[in-house]
Structure formats: C-alpha cells, structure tokens
C-alpha cells in the first residue's frame, strides 16, 4: 500500500496487557482520511487505552500503529506533528496564562509566527480577551475551549477526542459540538471516543463499538438511524460489561 492511498490511522492487531489482565485483545481498525469515526463502549471496554496507544501515549504489548502508512513506533516525532488530542484533561498549566500555555506548546511544536497563530486560535475559541489571565482561574468550559485552542495550535489533520463533552455545561457543550461540525467540514480525520450515543451518531461517518477490549460492531452511519444504532449498541453491550479498562 503506498503512503498516499494508505489510511490516515491504522491499528494493526493491538494488544495491551496489564499483568494478566488484557485491556485490548487484538484490535485492528483502519480510519480513512477525512473520516469521522466514533468509538462507543461501556466503561472498561478499552476505548481510552486504544486512544492512548494510537496517540503514542502508551506502548502496545503487541501490534502496530501506522499513520499514513508510516509506523508510529519507528518515527514517533514525525507522526506526532499530525496529531491533536483533546482528552478529559486540559493539558494546561494552572500557573501560566492562556497565552503562555499556548506559547509553550507552540515552541515545542516548532511553530513559526507564533504570536499571530496564538491570537487566531484564541479568537476562534472566544478567549482572546482572557489571553493574559492565569488558567487557574478558568471555568471548566473555558479550560476546554483553551484545550481546543492548544490542540489546534499546530493545525493537525488527525484529531483524537476522548470524551470531550465530559463535565461541560450546556453552553460549552454546544460550542464544542459546533466546533466539531466545523472540523468535520474541514476534511480532517477524527477519532472520537464518547458515551453520548446521539452526539456521536450525529457527528460520525462510522461507528465502532468496543466491548471487553475487542471491536464487536463496526459500521458506517449512512443508512442507520439513531434508534437502530441504540438498539445495536445495547444488544452488543448488554451483559458484557467486563474486565477491560
């Protein structure tokens, strides 16, 4: 497979063991370029472990992750320039201001023309007026907006989102939702882990369900309505909430 025709992200037979306990059991998943894939599953299904491995935060016990056909393990730094991650946590330093946090990350990404880039992303998330304020004083919603600015600072074409709606108030959740729709229209590859069936269904091109460290359902959203998906989800998940993390 040539790099151009290869999927944006490919997980090949990933296994992750913590001692004798398996969080992932031979998971293979290919995410095409510009595709939005939503991953669902009960708590402990291995969704977060999977996302940690494909984003390079954790090593698999076996298996491989490829970005545009190139191994993450062999060239991790090159792969990470294309990835943006938004997780449960903001990855922001409380002691620094919003602008200082973005400056710090921007320098680590080696971005040029950093001040104008920071100004632009802060304006996009509606925090330009709070650029000089310390993050310690930010609300959860503001933190998540700044986390979005941090994740988008280097303009990644692959985004991993791990339950980004967790803990957000209605206003912040609406803003995040519209931002995700905009990203979708910008033809970026997105892998979204969420518990919110409706939200995930409305955003994704494809739905994957994890149960006990394995993929048990993988289908495109086209031709499927919310009720059909809800039924499929509970059929696969019912009685199987298990031992993976």
């Amino acid at each position: 497979m040539t790099p151009d025709s290869s999927p944006a992200v490919a997980a090949v037979n990933l296994t992750k063991a913590f001692g004798t306990h398996y969080a992932l059991r031979g998971v293979s998943l290919q995410v095409a370029r510009n595709e939005v894939t939503a991953i669902f599953g009960p708590n402990g299904a291995g969704k977060t472990t999977f996302l940690r491995i494909v984003s390079g935060l954790s090593r698999p016990s076996s298996g491989e992750v490829l970005f545009n056909g190139n191994s993450l393990h062999e060239n991790p730094e090159a792969a990470r320039t294309h990835i943006g991650v938004i997780g449960h946590q903001s990855f922001l330093y409380n002691e620094l201001t919003a602008a200082e946090n973005l400056t710090f990350y921007g320098k680590l990404y080696g971005l040029i023309d950093l001040p104008s880039r920071i100004k632009k992303v802060l304006e996009e998330v509606g925090l330009a007026s709070r650029a000089g304020d310390r993050v310690a004083g930010f609300s959860r919603g503001m933190l998540q907006r700044l986390a979005i600015a941090r994740a988008m600072l280097h303009d990644p074409n692959i985004l991993f989102l791990d339950e980004p709606f967790t803990g957000l108030d209605q206003h912040a959740a609406t803003m995040l939702s519209s931002w995700l729709r905009r990203l979708r229209s910008e033809q970026r590859t997105i892998l979204l882990v969420t518990h919110d069936l409706e939200q995930g269904m409305s955003l994704a091109d494809r739905i994957v369900i994890f149960v006990r460290g394995q993929i048990v359902f993988d289908q495109p959203t086209s031709g499927m309505n919310a009720e059909q998906f809800r039924r499929a989800y509970f059929e696969h998940v019912a009685g199987q909430q298990g031992d993976a993390t």
Binding site: I83, L92, Y93, E95, E100, F104, K107, L108, G110
Partner: protein, 225 residues
C-alpha cells in the same frame, strides 16, 4: 528546532511556574533551614563533634529538601494531565527530561546557596576559604542527585504511595553521590586543598555522566509505562 532550544523552553516553563507560585522553593528552603537549625541545638558551635558532623548534616538538609522539590516539580506535570500534553509534542522525550532536570538542579542549588551561610554561622565552620571547592562539589553532586531524582519522580508520581515511593527508590541509588559529596565537603571544611578532593570529584563526575545518560535514554519508556 534544536535540542538546546527545547530544553530551554521546558526550563523556561518550570522557572516561570515556580516564579509565580514559589511553593516549591519556599518548602524546600524551609525544610533545609529547619534541619540545620534543629541539628544546631544538639551540637556546641565550633566543637569538634559539630565540625565532624557538619558535612553530613548539610547533605541531609540538601537531599531531603531536594526530595521535596523533586516530588513537587513532577506533581505540577500531573495536574490537568500536562505530562500527556508534553508527551504528545513532536520532540525527543529525553529532552523533556533534560529540561526538567536542569530546573531541578537550579532549584536545589538555590536552596544550597541560601542554606550554606546560615549553616556556616550556626555551626561556626569556615566556608569562605573553600567556597570554590564547595561550589564544584555542590554542582556535581546536585546534577547526579537531580538526574536520578527527576527520573524516579516520574516513576513515583503514578504510584499510590508517591510521597513514600520517591525517597525509597532514590536514596539507595544515590548512595555513591551522597557519599562522595559528604566526604569531599568534609575535606574542604577541614581546610584541605583540591588534591584531597580530586578523587571524590572524579567519582561525582563519573556518576553524573552515567546517571544523566541512563536517565535520558530510559525516560521515554518510563513515561509510556
């Protein structure tokens, strides 16, 4: 972006965060000063016993205050998941280690610089004449201490008993560095010259090189596991 710039960026962030809160330096300094003052109560200033025990007391103050600082320095990376944010950036993760280690060296050296004059007054030991030699000992010992300490604080921070785990992991490995530092300091405080401490300095230098290299290489694996 070259390696030195990345190390400096990580260092800048740590210095800025500490400049804002001063929580790391203030707790380290208070602890070091308390150790020196409390030990001072048990010895007659200027007595033979005080002079003999002084180097050990000084390094007890430095190392235990250092552990406090090392622990806090990495706690900051865990708040809000910042360590993951660092790991996601497209840089050699060993450079994160070097930046964090350099910050720890600076913080511990600052504590040493402030503690030393008070120690000299309370224990009535002459430090001015040997200040150059003491500076070299302090620098080399602090690098070795901070190198392993930075790596082990990254390991300990993800354990449930993190406050206990760091000193338990750290001190056995640091024995050669602390031993060399105490002996070299004792030699300087008893008025001996460079030739008397050169052996200890070589030991410190060798352990610094080994510790920094091994910790630099293994840091990535520690972060990922």
């Amino acid at each position: 972006m070259n390696a030195l710039r990345i190390v400096l960026v990580v260092l800048w962030k740590d210095l800025l965060a500490e400049f804002r809160t001063k929580e790391l330096l203030s707790s380290m300094l208070l602890f070091a000063l308390l150790v020196v003052v409390i030990f001072n109560f048990t010895f007659e200033p200027g007595s033979r016993a005080a002079v003999e025990a002084a180097p050990g007391i000084l390094w007890v103050a430095f190392t235990f205050a250092g552990v406090l600082g090392l622990h806090r320095a990495f706690s900051r990376e865990v708040e809000n998941g910042c360590l993951q944010g660092l790991m996601l950036t497209p840089i050699d993760r060993g450079l994160i280690f070097l930046g964090k280690m350099t910050g720890n060296v600076i913080f511990i050296l600052l504590v040493e610089i402030i503690t030393l004059p008070l120690f000299a007054i309370l224990f009535n030991v002459p430090v001015l004449a040997g200040l150059g030699r003491l500076s070299v000992i302090f620098l080399l010992a602090t690098i070795g201490f901070a190198a392993v300490g930075t790596l082990f604080s990254a390991i300990a921070i993800n354990t449930r008993t993190r406050e206990i785990m760091l000193p338990i992991l750290l001190f056995p490995v640091e024995v050669p560095v602390i031993l060399a530092a105490v002996n070299a300091t004792a030699a300087v405080l008893s008025g001996r010259d460079w030739s008397a401490i050169s052996g200890w300095l070589k030991i410190l230098l060798v352990f610094d090189l080994i510790f920094v290299m091994v910790c630099y290489i293994t840091f990535e694996y520690v972060l990922e596991e």
